[in-house]
Symmetry: C3
Subunit: 405 residues, 3 copies
C-alpha cells in the first residue's frame, strides 16, 4: 500500500516530475517505421509532451515540438525539406535542433533566435525510437532478436487509457494472468477447480531488469521484466517484446514487437517487410474491453481499473514480492538520479551494445493452445496480409516436422 504522494511519484510522467525525469533517460519506441513511410510526418505524444516526428531520409528522423512558435500551427501538417520541417502556414522552417532557420515571408530573421524543443529520434528493428533526456544519449539496446532473419516481424501498437505502471507491474507479477484466466474459465465450464499456478516465484535482478522464475530460481524462466518499462518473452523460434510507453499520466502506448521464425528450408522471400498495425482494445458496439486475444485479456484487466490505480487502497501480500521489488527499485532510482547518479541499464559504449541476449522462456502455449493453431493469438485486429504471412510461418513448421503442433 502506498501513500497518495508515493503513488503520484510513480505515476506522473510529465516534464520535471521525478518519474518523468527517470523515464527520460531511456529510449522509447513511439511509431512503427512504416507509418512514416506512408506519410513523412506524424504527431506523437509521449511523457506528456506533444511532438511531431518526421522522416528526413532512410532511417533518419527529426523530433520537435508539435506547434509552430509563430502562431501555433500544427507541424504534423509540415513539409519535410532535407533534415528540416517547414510549417505549412507561413513557411517557417525548423532545423532538427528546433531552431527556426527560415521565415520566407519576412525581410530578415529576428535578432533573437526562435527555437522549439527538439529531441532525438532513430530507427531500429522497424520502430522509431525517441529520446527526450539530456545529452549524451545512451544506445538503443541491440537486442539479439532484432538481428534475426528468416522469420516475420510484427509491430503492434495499442493505445490504452490507463497509467503505464499498472501495465508494467504485471511484468513483476509471477502469475501469468492470461493463462490463469483461461484455465479458470475452462474450469468454470467442466466444473473442475482451476489448476493453481505455482505458489511462489523468484525475481532475480540482472543488468537489463529482472528474470522471473517459478519456485526457488532453478526452473525455466517465465518472463523477463526489462528495465524500466519493458517485457521479453519467448525463445529463438517465437518471441515478443512489449514496452509500455507513457503517452501521459492517464494513457499508455503498448508497443509490441513479435518475431516468428520460419522452419529451416522455408523458401526465402518470406519476410518482405515489417508488418505493423494498431490493435483495437474495445468492442465497437458495446465499448467493453476486448478479451478475444491473450494481450487483450491483460489490457481488459488494466482498462477496467481506475485510469490511475489508487494504490492507497490495495492490500499487498507475500505474492506481491515482485511488484514491491519493482516499486522500491523505481523509488531508489529516482533518488539516485536526483543525487546525480546514473540509472540502471543504460549502455553508452556501442561496442557493448551488440546482439544482447535475453534468457529463453518456456513456450507460451503449453497451458492453453489456441483453437486455430495457425492464428495469431496475441492481439485483435491483425490485418489480412499479416495474418497470411504469420500463417505461412506457423505452417512451415508443421510441414518440416510432421506431427509437431
Amino acid at each position: 500500500m502506498l501513500s497518495e504522494e508515493e503513488n503520484q511519484t510513480l505515476t506522473q510522467v510529465g516534464p520535471g516530475t521525478p518519474m518523468g525525469d527517470l523515464l527520460r533517460r531511456y529510449w522509447h519506441p513511439v511509431a512503427a517505421a512504416g507509418e512514416l513511410d506512408e506519410r513523412p510526418t506524424r504527431p506523437v505524444r509521449i511523457l506528456g509532451e506533444d511532438l511531431v516526428v518526421y522522416k528526413t531520409g532512410p532511417g533518419a528522423y527529426g523530433l520537435i515540438e508539435r506547434f509552430c512558435a509563430h502562431r501555433g500551427t500544427d507541424l504534423a501538417y509540415g513539409i519535410v525539406e532535407d533534415a528540416a520541417l517547414r510549417c505549412p502556414r507561413h513557411g517557417w522552417l525548423y532545423a532538427e535542433s528546433g531552431l527556426c532557420i527560415d521565415m520566407p515571408l519576412e525581410e530578415e530573421m529576428p535578432a533573437e533566435p526562435i527555437k522549439l524543443n527538439a529531441y532525438q529520434a532513430r530507427e531500429k528493428a522497424g520502430m522509431v525510437w525517441a529520446y527526450l533526456g539530456p545529452e549524451p544519449a545512451p544506445q538503443i539496446p541491440d537486442w539479439e532478436p532484432f538481428t534475426w532473419q528468416g522469420g516475420i516481424v510484427q509491430v503492434v501498437l495499442s493505445v490504452l487509457h490507463c497509467n503505464w505502471l499498472q501495465c508494467q507491474e504485471n511484468t513483476m507479477d509471477g502469475v501469468d494472468m492470461e493463462l490463469f484466466v483461461d484455465a479458470m474459465e475452462a474450469a468454470r465450464h467442466d466444473g473442475t477447480p482451476p489448476p493453481l499456478p505455482p505458489l511462489d516465484f523468484s525475481f532475480d535482478e540482472f543488468e537489463h531488469g529482472y528474470v522471473v522464475r517459478p519456485g526457488d530460481g532453478e526452473s525455466a524462466v517465465t518472463k523477463t521484466s526489462l528495465w524500466p518499462n519493458g517485457l521479453f518473452n519467448g525463445d529463438n523460434r517465437s518471441c515478443r517484446f512489449e514496452w509500455r510507453v507513457p503517452i501521459d499520466d492517464e494513457t499508455t502506448l503498448d508497443f509490441a514487437w513479435f518475431f516468428d521464425r520460419a522452419a529451416p528450408g522455408t523458401p526465402e522471400g518470406l519476410q518482405t517487410r515489417v508488418h505493423f498495425w494498431y490493435s483495437q482494445t474495445r468492442e465497437e458496439e458495446t465499448g467493453e474491453a476486448l478479451r478475444s486475444h491473450l494481450l487483450n485479456k491483460k489490457f481488459a484487466i488494466w482498462l477496467n481499473q481506475e485510469p490511475i490505480l489508487d494504490r492507497t487502497k490495495e492490500h499487498l501480500t507475500e505474492g506481491d514480492a515482485g511488484v514491491i521489488m519493482l516499486r522500491n527499485k523505481l523509488f531508489g532510482q529516482i533518488s539516485l538520479l536526483q543525487d546525480g547518479g546514473e540509472p540502471k541499464a543504460l549502455i553508452y559504449d556501442p561496442a557493448q551494445n551488440q546482439k544482447l541476449r535475453l534468457p529463453d522462456t518456456a513456450p507460451l502455449f503449453a497451458a492453453a493452445p489456441p483453437e486455430d493453431e495457425a492464428a495469431f493469438p496475441y492481439l485483435a485486429g491483425q490485418p489480412e496480409d499479416a495474418a497470411e504471412a504469420y500463417r505461412r510461418v506457423i505452417e512451415s513448421w508443421r510441414e518440416s516436422e510432421p506431427g509437431s503442433p
Copy 2:
C-alpha cells in the same frame, strides 16, 4: 422553487447523503435476471457505488464491491464458485459477506481479515433486485401483476443521462405529457387548437405512494406514483411498472416491467421466457433524443434538461401541487429517518407481502392509439422475438373479440 442546498439534498444519492440514506432503505431492480444467465457476473453501478452482481444458483445472487481489495482488479471478470466470487487475477475468493476467504497463492491468510462491502441481491419477477441499506432488509413488494400468468413479460432497461428526480417528479404531474404532446402535434398539422387535458388533479396518498386522478378524486385513476421512485399504470390486461433507479447523481436506470395478457383460450406456451432488452434513447446518427415511442418522448424531455435540473430557476404554480407534495414528502421522510423513524412503504412481514394490489387505470390508448395496433408502443429497440411474442398476444384479442381494437 428550491434553494440550491435543497436541490442538492433531493438529487444527491451517494453513500452518506440524506437522500442516499433514504433510498438505501428500499430494494431497487438493477438487472434483468436473464442477463445473469447469459454471463454469471455483471458490473452494476447504483447510488454512486460500483458493485458486481453474480449468480450463485437458481434465483440466488451475490452483490459485492466491484474492485478486488488486493490490487484493484475488476471482479466483473470473476469466477463464481458456489456462493463466492473468485478474482481472476490472483484468485482471491470472496464470500457473499464480502469477506476474503481464500488466497491460493499465499502460504497463509492475513491476520487481519480483508472484507469488501457486500449487499443483498434477490430475484423477483424476472428482475434482480439490490438492497444497500441496513439490516434487516424489508420485503421486495409482491405486486399482484408479478404473479400473473397467461401473458408475456418484458423487462426493458434504459440508461438516462439525467438525475432520477426529474424522472420521478413526472409521476406526480397530472398532465400525462406524452399524450399532450401527441395531441398538440396533431393539432399543429390540422390547425385546430390542442385539446386541453383536465385542469386539476388530486393526489391521494396511500400506503404504497400516491394515486393520481383528474378532478376531485372521483374519476378513474390516471396513474400510481409508487414510493419512493416508481410508477404503475394499467390494468389486468396490460400494465407497466417503471422504477427510476439512480446510478449516480447524473445518471438514472429507467427500469420498466410490462405485462400483456393473452385472450382467454389462447394456447399455452405463449410465455416461454421473460423478454429483456436495453432500449436505445438517442438517434445513432444525430445523437438527438429519440421520440419515436411513448416513453422515449418522456425521456427526451428529461434528457434535454440539464443533467441535474436547476430547481432554483423554476416557477411552480397550482398545477404543480403533486410535485410539491412529492418534494415535501421526501424532505419529511429524510427528517424522519434522521430522527430514527421508519420510512414509508416498507414491508417486513412476509405474510403482509402477498399479491399486493394497485388500482387499475384507464386504458392508455384512448387518446392516441398507435398506427400499427399490434406494435409495442412504449420503447424503441424491441428485439424481433419480443416483438413477435407481443404481436401474438395483441392479436389473440382481436381473434377472440372480433371488432375489438
Copy 3:
C-alpha cells in the same frame, strides 16, 4: 504576443464579457432558413446563450431562451402558435417578447409576470439572423450579392471546435493558406521548392472592414475582412461570404454563403431553392480533421490548435501586420463601446442599406484549379442535389464560352 488577460478579452464571448458585448451589437446568421421549413423550431447556441429560434410566418421568426421558466423543459420541442411558442409539457405560451401569456392548466395567471430572455431574429438571403444586443437594432447589411439572380445559392454550416478568433484572424493574414499548402504539397512530390506567395500585403480599412491586397495596395484585392467576424471573396460570377459565429468560447459556427452565376442564356428555373447543408469536418473513422476541400484545409489548421489558441506563446513578425491591426481594432472598439461610443460598421438607416458593394477579388483558382472543374471545391459533404445544381451552373459557362475553363 498577448498577455493571458488580453487573450481572454479577445476570446471570451459570453454575456457581460467585453468582447461578448461588442459582438452583440451585430447581427449573426444562426441557421439556414430552410432548416426552419423542415421543422419550425430549432435550438440555437450563440455567444454562450442557449436559445430556441422558431418560425412564425413567411420570413418571420421568434428567438427566446431555450428552457421553459416553469420547470426547465426544452422549448425546441415547443409548438408554434402564431407569433408565440407553447411549451409541450404544460402548455405555457411565450410571446415573441419572451413574456409568458398563457398557462392553460392554471386558473389564473400569476400576479408577477414571467418572462424569458428574448431577442430578434430575421431572414435574409436564405439565412436566419439573430441580434442579441440593445435596442434599436441596426440593419442586417444588404450585401449586393444577396440581391443577385440567375445563379445558385448554397448555405453551408460547419461546427468547429475552436474559438472564433483563430478563424477570423486568418482573414487578416496575407498568405492565402490553402493555396500555399497546395503549392507546397505539390512541390513535395516533384521536388521543386514551393513558389512563395507575395512577401508583403496592405490592409486598408474601409467602412465595412479591411481590404487585403498584395504589395503596396495597387494590386487586385485578395479578400475582404468584414468587420467584425466575416469574410468576402469573389466577384460577380462566383463569390462567397463566411461568418465565424461564436457558439461559445470553444466552439464556432462557420457560416458560409456561396453564389455561383449561370452563363447568360441559361434557361430559367435553374435556381429553385437555396441549397443548405451541414459540412462534416472530421473523417468518420479516424477522427482526423478532413483536408479534402479548400475550407476544410483551413479548418484543419484551426482545429489542430488548442481550442482557444494560447497567444501568450506566439512570436509575431512583420508578416503579421494584419493580425495585429485586427487585434488592436478589437481592443479599440471594446474601449469605445465601454465609453458609450458606437462601434464600427453599424448601419441604422434603411436608405443607406441597399445593395452594398464589396470589391471584386481575383478569381480563386488561378493557382490551384481542382481536378474536376465542375465539382464544388470548398467544403466536404455536399448533398447530391446541390452538387447537381452546381455542376449545371459551372457547365453552362463551358457551353456558352467554348474553350473557357
